[in-house]
Amino acid sequence: MKSLDAPHRPGAKSTKPEWAEGLKRLYDSVVEEPLPDSFARLLDQLDDDQHG
């Protein structure tokens, strides 16, 4: 694995290729999205069913 801190230069083989950065950003962009309430509601409902 090459240095992650190397400055990005398009086409430069000595740095992390841009698609690798894109892949990480693709993932992170979803992680950073606001979470729809439906997920918390689902877990609350499961919790209630179990303990209520």
Partner: protein
């Protein structure tokens, strides 16, 4: 492994204290609360993994819901102190493969939605469009795609990824290597799959999946 605590206050029923001052007989309920808290914390990662796997945000979120239901039902099998993210990724992956076999995701990749959702955040310089990235990713055979998602995006080690995919470490390394080579070739040569041509990619994915299912992989 640090998990982001990005839980909207509105989605939180009540503060869970994790039973620091609870009597010992409440250990079970404390574990349950801690399980729920940890499960909640990994939801953003489950969404990211699911979207990388199946492409469409709505189907990906359905997959996450399914995963949460299965994880909840299996919570007795979760060992406290181990990685909740790895544990739930296994569940999500299995649910995805099952759904794939039922053709739930066939030809369902919605280019317009992906284009809109995957646009880079404003102010961020994107060396390539995330939709391009995603399209390229979706052309990979599923086992290479998931390996690359786990290691290249999810930050899992090869060993962790091998456990999640229930295969040998060498297999994961090989899949990641091939996926990287394919993406690098596709993107750096500018030969991205055409935006309207994803049927071909899907057919290829399904053919490969059918083959791996039939071979018992």
């Amino acid at each position: 492994m640090a998990e982001p605590a990005r839980i909207p206050e509105s989605g939180r029923p009540e503060r869970v204290t994790n039973g620091n001052d609870a009597p010992r007989k409440d250990a079970a309920s404390s574990n349950a609360a801690s399980f729920k808290r940890e499960l909640t914390a990994v939801i953003p990662h489950l969404r990211a993994f699911a979207r990388g796997l199946c492409g469409r945000p709505d189907l990906a979120d359905d997959l996450v819901q399914e995963t949460l239901l299965k994880a909840w039902a299996a919570q007795d099998r979760f060992e406290p102190g181990t990685s909740m993210r790895a544990w739930t990724f296994v569940i999500l992956r299995n649910a995805y493969l099952t759904d794939m076999r039922r053709n739930r995701f066939r030809a369902d990749y919605d280019e317009v939605v992906a284009e809109r959702i995957l646009v880079a955040p404003a102010g961020q310089e994107a060396p390539l469009h995330l939709s391009d990235m995603h399209r390229a990713l979706l052309t990979l055979p599923p086992e290479r795609r998931e390996a690359l998602l786990l290691v290249g995006a999810g930050g899992f080690s090869y060993e962790e990824a091998a456990q999640i995919c229930q295969c040998a470490v060498g297999t994961i390394k090989s899949r990641v290597g091939r996926a990287r080579a394919a993406l690098a070739q596709m993107i750096e040569s500018g030969q991205l799959p055409r935006r309207s041509g994803n049927d071909v990619a899907h057919d290829a994915i399904m053919a490969e999946l059918d083959a791996s299912v039939q071979s018992g992989a």
